[in-house]
């Protein structure tokens, strides 16, 4: 018995000439919630469908608890799948939809009734058992799809863009509900999403997938704070990219002629007396101000480049044209497709100059 619940080894998939999955390898521990994150058409769904058994890999292996699954039919894999558009059976009531998998297993009527009612409770759908899918809201349909997938007690749950078709505020609710439910049931879950906020919020582990390749596998914090590739750095979070012309104080010589990336949270903007380490800061001019409710988004010009930073609404307000100090805490420097994080040298200067 392997320690990995899901073990994907060197899987390749071609659609004719098109190489949809390139040497995919990753492992998932039991009970973890793993997000497959990447742009549309990047090959996330193909990976999910191969694990479900709905597509066959051209080579490589997929193992569940150390057992090879390549030739096992989807019916016998012990998986539950929630499809992007839910794929509910429109001609069946909510109850019959959820009971479908149990009916297939020829469970007793009383068992089915008990189990379905339990799932209706779990998914906050009590009392809706007699409705048809077309009489439900998007969020409710989504939860019926969950309940249906969970009914036969699968060992692995696979979700394809589970929240894509749902209103923004309902999506937020459903996300935390999903996280809680999965913690409670302890079921190993893989979900596909193109929404990084969603992946970062609920996943234990994230697989960043781009052009059929896994770019990086790590926790949300690792993915966010130490991107390993050019693509991951650009894809995750907001950023400004440019080739600096020796204008940012504290990064002398580190990024000459190379492209760098700065995130708003790397940039501290303040009036000259507000910055704790004035020696590490550069001088800039405020060019634009956007009110974001919780903070101000400030566009500041430093040596001909526009940087974006956030400023608390609690601090004294800035005006366009104000001269400000800009402390850039760190940069991401690209080199041959790799992303390196460089900290501001003066922040850690052994002999700082105090004025």
């Amino acid at each position: 018995m392997s320690q990995w619940h899901i073990d994907v080894q060197n899987v390749n998939k071609f659609y004719g000439e098109y190489h949809a999955s390139k040497n995919i390898s990753f492992q998932v521990e039991k009970g973890k919630l793993v997000g497959l994150l990447g742009p549309s058409g990047g090959g996330k769904t193909t990976i999910l469908r191969m694990i479900a058994g709905l597509e066959q890999p051209d080579n490589g292996s997929i193992l569940f608890r150390g057992q090879e699954m390549n030739r096992v039919e989807p019916q016998k894999r012990g998986i539950g799948v929630v499809f992007q558009n839910y794929a509910l059976f429109k001609h069946m009531t909510v109850f019959d939809n959820i009971a479908f998998g149990l009916n297939v297993q020829k469970k007793s009527k009383s068992f089915i009734k008990e189990r379905v009612n339990e799932l209706l409770d779990l998914t906050n759908l009590s009392g809706l058992g007699k409705r048809y899918p077309n009489e439900l809201s998007g969020g409710q349909r989504q939860r019926v799809a969950f309940a249906r997938a969970l009914a036969p007690e699968p060992q692995i749950l696979l979700l394809d863009e589970p929240f894509a078709a749902i209103d923004a505020h309902v999506r937020r609710e459903l996300r935390s509900w999903l996280r809680e439910m999965i913690d409670r049931l302890g079921i190993t879950t893989l979900f596909v999403t193109h929404d990084q906020e969603e992946a970062i919020e609920i996943a234990d582990q994230i697989l960043v997938v781009n052009q059929g390749r896994i770019e990086q596998h790590g926790t949300p914090i690792e993915i966010y704070q130490s991107p390993q590739t050019d693509f991951v750095a650009r894809f995750i979070g907001e950023s400004t990219q440019f080739v600096p012309k020796g204008i940012i104080h504290g990064f002398n010589g580190v990024a000459d002629g190379r492209e760098v990336l700065i995130r708003p949270e790397f940039v501290e903007i303040g009036k000259p007396n507000e910055i704790a380490l004035p020696s590490a800061a550069s001088q800039g001019t405020v060019r634009h101000l956007y009110y974001r409710g919780a903070s101000w988004e400030v566009e500041v010009e430093v040596g001909g480049e526009l940087l974006i930073g956030n400023r608390s609404v609690e601090k004294s307000s800035l005006k366009i044209g104000d001269k400000v100090s800009v402390l850039v805490h760190r940069l991401i420097v690209f080199e041959n497709g790799k992303a390196n994080i460089v900290e501001n040298q003066f922040k850690y200067d052994p002999m700082p100059v105090f004025i």
Binding site: L54, A87, F89, F100, N134
Partner: protein, 277 residues
């Protein structure tokens, strides 16, 4: 006007509705009403005698049973053909797809003559079936065969678009829930197709009842055995008994209407649940 009408993209409800009613009156309602007038002008005793005569009753039986049989058989075969055409991308699919419409275009008499010469006891297929003791031409089986040919496109063409639109992820969902292919077909695919299947079958059935051209050649037209109602109506017309012809036609019309009504109700029940999703 006190209430505001909801505006539609293309205006002109009054004009188009008026046109619809005038058109339907001229083409459908007035001729059919004429039928009832003709029957009403006759002697009731004579009418009842005609309608209840054994020969007419036998013709009704033959017409309804052969049409129903052919429509149901077409329901099975048509579903299969539609499935093959939609789901499998084989070479020559476009050609096969075009063949389906042939019964629409071909003069039905041509089809009747072709089928008769093939399936008569001396024809190609007729000889083969004759050896195993099955007579096709000049029996009710032959009539059904002709109606099978006539009705096929109705079933295929009504199921095809629905099958094309059907999401395959519903089938995949059934598979991942542990359902075999067989269970998936019966419990998931078939119920989705039911409304359009019923439409196709009822169209084929209605067409079968009215079919004349292809059937008269292959049926042999033996009174009490293989005589269909439309033929009986022609026979009455040839004897200048217009009242009798109109009476038979009216009964036929009412029977067809009743059966279509039943089928449409079933279809409505099946479709009602599946709207909007």
């Amino acid at each position: 006007m006190s209430t505001r009408r909801t505006s539609s993209v293309i205006p002109g409800f009054g004009l188009t509705m008026g046109y619809t009613i005038v058109y339907l009156s001229l083409i459908v309602l007035i001729p059919l009403a004429g039928l009832f007038f003709k029957m009403g002008s006759g002697d009731w005793q004579h009418i009842i005698e005609v309608i209840t005569s054994p020969r007419v009753l036998a013709a009704f039986r033959v017409s309804l049973l052969t049409s129903l049989g052919a429509a149901l058989a077409n329901g099975v075969i048509g579903l299969l053909i539609a499935w093959v055409l939609v789901r499998y991308p084989f070479s020559g699919r476009k050609f096969v797809d075009a063949l389906i419409d042939l019964p629409f275009a071909l003069p039905t008499a041509v089809a009747g003559i072709a089928l008769t010469s093939l399936y008569s006891p001396k024809g190609w297929m007729g000889q083969l079936f004759g050896e195993i003791g099955i007579k096709i031409a000049y029996t009710p089986l032959g009539i059904s065969l002709a109606l099978l040919f006539i009705g096929l496109p109705f079933v295929v063409r009504t199921i095809q678009p629905v099958l094309q639109d059907a999401e395959t992820d519903v089938e995949e969902a059934a598979l991942t829930l542990g359902a075999s292919r067989w269970v998936t077909f019966w419990k998931v695919i078939l119920p989705t197709l039911l409304p359009s299947w019923l439409t196709g079958v009822s169209l084929a059935f209605a067409r079968g009842i009215g079919e004349y051209g292809s059937v008269v050649f292959i049926s042999g037209n033996m009174p009490m055995k293989t005589e269909i109602v439309p033929l009986l109506i022609i026979t009455q017309l040839e004897q200048f008994d217009y009242v009798a012809a109109a009476s038979i036609a009216v009964v036929m019309l009412l029977l067809s209407f009743l059966m279509l009504f039943v089928i449409n109700t079933l279809q409505w029940l099946a479709r009602r649940r599946m709207q909007n999703t």
